[in-house]
């Protein structure tokens, strides 16, 4: 009985807010922080303040140093990194503390939610064993109570079956569930500060929103200060009080979120704001309409997919990857296939390209039947139908030069003389906005954005009618994404290309597509024009996808007054 009482006690302590006396000094103050790896400086003279119970976002693109700052605060910098300046936590300089005095702060005072939940738990130990490590930080002596505390926390973070999660190995849970576990473990010892490093970037969009909601709610209910690291301005604006915008390790702008967001003063913050698709739905509207006006003919559709089904047998189980889908794309327009992972969008484009055979149904591109062809005769289709892959780091042969890569399709299809080919290569390179001096480089010496331009040039050089774009910007930073989208749309306007654009990013689709098909578990649940789908979604799944687009407006949840014994909404598990 006594232990039962203790359990209740501990639970109450863990749940209710103990309104600690608020000292004047901020919980976390970073002054003149610089971090370097060898001779390379990655963070320069950065400073900011985070008050108790407040939230602050460090925002920037890859190479901005945002994650390095987070790791400096957590003292998890890799070997060889040197940090100078001060990280004041509760008026103690963390950088100057000896390890022996810093370790008691870890977990107890400062919690950490990592970026990729799939790698953040030891793969060969059960989640329960690892959760016990976090529970040990509560100073609760009884193992039974620690265990109860863990299960209770798991329930609070929205895990349907806490006991199952406790007994599982990490690979047995989905990414969304793992991130809930990790958030649970981080908040379990009731830290004063939670550092979340891109906590949702490895997750599907609808799950992203749920995880962010959970974080906001916990932050509020448990009065935790949140240091959020993100590349997404819209998310940052929606979830935090203060914004710090970083570029190349230097603070570009900092201030109250509402101020920085609505009227950014630095050029970089303005550009960042302009490049986020969710915040600028009409950015390319003119370009998009120009293409349509110049090229739209009332001819037959360029692409027709009718009643196509494809099943795979995986380990004896039949999996319907694509279930009776149909759509058509008019010449000169962009059709977007939207869905989360496992929705069948990748299978759809592989069918479209003839890389997979449909079990039933028909596919034609530019009036030619794709399905049922031999590999040899597919070449004739590919002459007019090209693909740009998602990841430009794997889609270009690392041993070839840019010139050779772009010329390869011309060589293979034996188009023109070698002089004409060289000319066409130069033209394609210029079309995608690359400088000629890059022609002799190999992919390893190019940035991600440059590589994707090479991949686009490669698909353009054959002058195809249709280009299939498989999440062409999802591996790139937003500003690079904006440049690539611009290139794609102006090419479409000039050359009358037809695009099939695969994406999980609805905001991006809203910017550039003409028509949309929304896919879920292998079926198209809704299709129509961009205006129809976004203005008046009919299917609940579409509506939930739309709702998960971060709008840059503060979440209403955070505005409501927190109740002292908040019981968390149990959601459907991701």
């Amino acid at each position: 009985m006594a232990s039962q009482d203790r359990l209740t006690d501990t639970l109450i302590r863990a749940i209710t807010i103990a309104p600690a006396p608020q000292p004047a000094a901020p919980l976390l103050r970073v002054d003149n922080l610089s971090v370097s790896y060898g001779r390379q400086d990655v963070v320069h003279d950065v400073g900011f303040e985070l008050g108790r119970g407040k939230s602050l976002a460090l925002i920037g693109e890859s190479g901005s140093g945002k994650s390095t700052i987070a790791r400096a605060v957590l003292r998890l910098l890799p070997n060889g990194a040197r940090a100078s300046g001060a990280v004041q936590f509760n008026e103690q300089n963390l950088l100057a503390l000896p390890e022996r005095r810093f370790r008691p702060l870890r977990g107890r005072q400062i919690g950490f939610v990592p970026q990729d939940p799939g790698n953040a738990l030891n793969p060969v130990r059960t989640i329960g064993v690892q959760a016990m490590e976090a529970a040990a930080l509560t100073d609760e002596p009884s193992v039974a109570i620690r265990r109860a505390l863990i299960l209770d926390t798991f329930a609070k973070v929205g895990l349907d079956n806490p006991q199952r999660a406790y007994d599982s190995y990490p690979h047995q849970l989905s990414g969304g569930m793992l991130q809930r576990v990790l958030i649970g473990l981080a908040v379990l010892p009731r830290p004063a500060l939670l550092v979340a490093d891109e906590p949702t970037s490895a997750l599907d969009v609808t799950i992203q929103k749920r995880i962010l909601d959970l974080l906001s709610r916990l932050q509020h209910d448990l009065n935790i200060s949140l240091l959020l690291i993100t590349h997404d301005l819209a998310i940052a604006a929606e979830r935090t009080d203060t914004l710090v915008v970083l570029k190349n390790g230097v603070v570009q702008e900092a201030g109250k979120t509402s101020a920085v967001f609505s009227s950014p003063s630095s050029a970089y913050a303005r550009k960042l704001h302009a490049d986020v698709p969710a915040l600028n739905p009409d950015r390319y509207a003119r370009l998009r309409e120009t293409g349509l006006r110049l090229h739209r003919t009332e001819e037959a559709p360029k692409i027709e997919v009718s009643a196509v089904t494809k099943k795979f047998t995986v380990d004896g189980k039949v999996l319907t990857a694509v279930n009776d889908i149909s759509f058509a794309v008019a010449p000169g327009t962009t059709h977007a296939l939207v869905g989360e992972s496992g929705s069948g969008k990748t299978t759809t484009i592989r069918l479209l390209l003839g890389l997979e055979e449909p079990d039933s149904g028909e596919i034609s591109v530019a009036g030619e039947q794709v399905s049922g062809r031999s590999r040899e005769s597919l070449r004739a289709v590919w002459r007019h139908l090209q693909l740009v892959y998602q990841n430009p780091f794997t889609s270009l042969d690392p041993t070839w030069t840019v010139e050779h890569l772009v010329r390869e399709p011309l060589d293979r299809f034996k188009i023109g003389t070698s002089k004409e080919r060289a000319e066409q290569v130069r033209q394609a390179i210029a079309n995608v906005g690359l400088d000629e001096h890059l022609l002799t480089r190999k992919p390893g010496a190019l940035s991600g954005g440059q590589r994707q331009r090479v991949a686009i040039a490669r698909s353009l050089v054959l002058k195809p009618d249709v280009i299939v774009l498989d999440e062409p910007t999802s591996a790139l930073d937003v500003s690079v994404q904006a440049d690539i989208v611009e290139v794609l749309l102006s090419l479409q306007a000039r050359l009358g290309l037809t695009y099939v654009f695969v994406s999980h990013d609805l905001a991006l689709v809203r910017q550039l597509a003409h028509t949309v098909s929304v896919m879920q578990r292998g079926s198209i649940v809704e299709h129509g024009t961009v205006a129809d789908i976004f203005g008046n979604p009919q299917h609940p799944y579409t509506a939930s996808l739309l709702a998960s687009i971060p709008g840059g407006i503060a979440d209403p949840v955070r505005m409501t007054h927190p109740k002292p014994r908040q019981v968390f909404r149990k959601e459907q598990i991701a």
Partner: protein, 282 residues
């Protein structure tokens, strides 16, 4: 010679040349050692005035000195001269072994990995069989079957390395074949054999090169072991393994073991270090 051309392979553009030349001091030192060894095997007479075969009986079993760097053996022959003259057969036989391993193993691995299907199943079993026989025993029975000579020891060592190269090449080819850029080449109208030749082979061979260098060092050790057991050329040949084998009967004069052993170890260490560096810079 091989090492110079290996270097150019990995550094085909001017840019990577500059990077290739920026190497850690220890790697540079390794190249110096290997260059010296190669020079010994090409022109041993430039490095010593003593004869490796004819000794001065009065000078037998002398310790290392300025006159005899590694001392002299029981017949009064200069040990340094014997080591230098023994380099050619020790090193070139290792080269033969690697070439056999790379060509035969690479070919098997390439076919198995690229063709797949029953070809792969058959070849993969064959490789399993080769792997299942302990390597050194395999080398011993092959050299027994074809005769005790250094060149046969080299062939035997090469045969015992075939399975490793086949396995690694197969794995690399399969990995490359599934790479996105290979599918991209299909979509650009490339035929199967064109893609094998122009995309799969260059990419797969990038990781076979460091392995070949590693195997070179390993082959020196295996051939030395065969020579030590007396399965190579008989005396008065002076293969390193044979020198150590003779020296073991004179352990009172330990330099007879330590000097050739030191050269063997130094060579293999340098070769391994270069392999590791190649793997990292890739």
């Amino acid at each position: 010679m091989t090492f110079a051309s290996n270097l150019t392979l990995s550094a085909s553009t001017r840019n990577s040349w500059a990077e290739a030349l920026r190497m850690p001091a220890i790697v540079a030192l390794s190249f110096v050692v290997v260059a010296t060894i190669i020079a010994w095997s090409v022109a041993p007479q430039l490095f010593t005035t003593y004869s490796p075969v004819i000794g001065v009986p009065a000078d037998k079993l002398l310790g290392p000195s300025t006159a005899h760097w590694f001392g002299t053996d029981h017949l009064g022959r200069d040990l340094y001269a014997r080591v230098v003259y023994g380099t050619a057969s020790s090193v070139s036989s290792a080269l033969v072994a690697v070439v056999i391993g790379v060509l035969a193993g690479g070919f098997i691995g390439l076919l198995a990995g690229f063709l797949g299907g029953w070809v792969d199943v058959v070849l993969a079993r064959l490789v399993d069989v080769l792997l299942s026989i302990p390597k050194f025993l395999l080398a011993v029975i092959v050299v027994t079957a074809i005769g005790f000579e250094t060149i046969n020891a080299a062939i035997a060592t090469g045969v015992s390395a075939v399975a490793i190269f086949a396995r690694v090449t197969r794995a690399e080819v399969i990995k490359t074949r599934q790479a996105t850029f290979v599918e991209a080449a299909f979509l650009s109208g490339g035929s199967r054999w064109y893609i094998l030749w122009r995309h799969v082979l260059p990419n797969a061979s990038r990781s076979v090169l460091p392995l070949a260098v590693l195997q070179f060092g390993e082959s020196i050790l295996v051939i030395a072991s065969l020579a030590f057991l007396g399965y190579g050329d008989p005396p008065p040949a002076s293969d390193w393994g044979l020198l150590i084998s003779i020296g073991k009967d004179y352990l009172k004069w330990p330099w007879l073991v330590y000097a050739p052993a030191f050269i063997t170890i130094l060579t293999v260490l340098s070769v391994n270090r270069i392999s590791r560096w190649l793997r990292k810079t890739d």
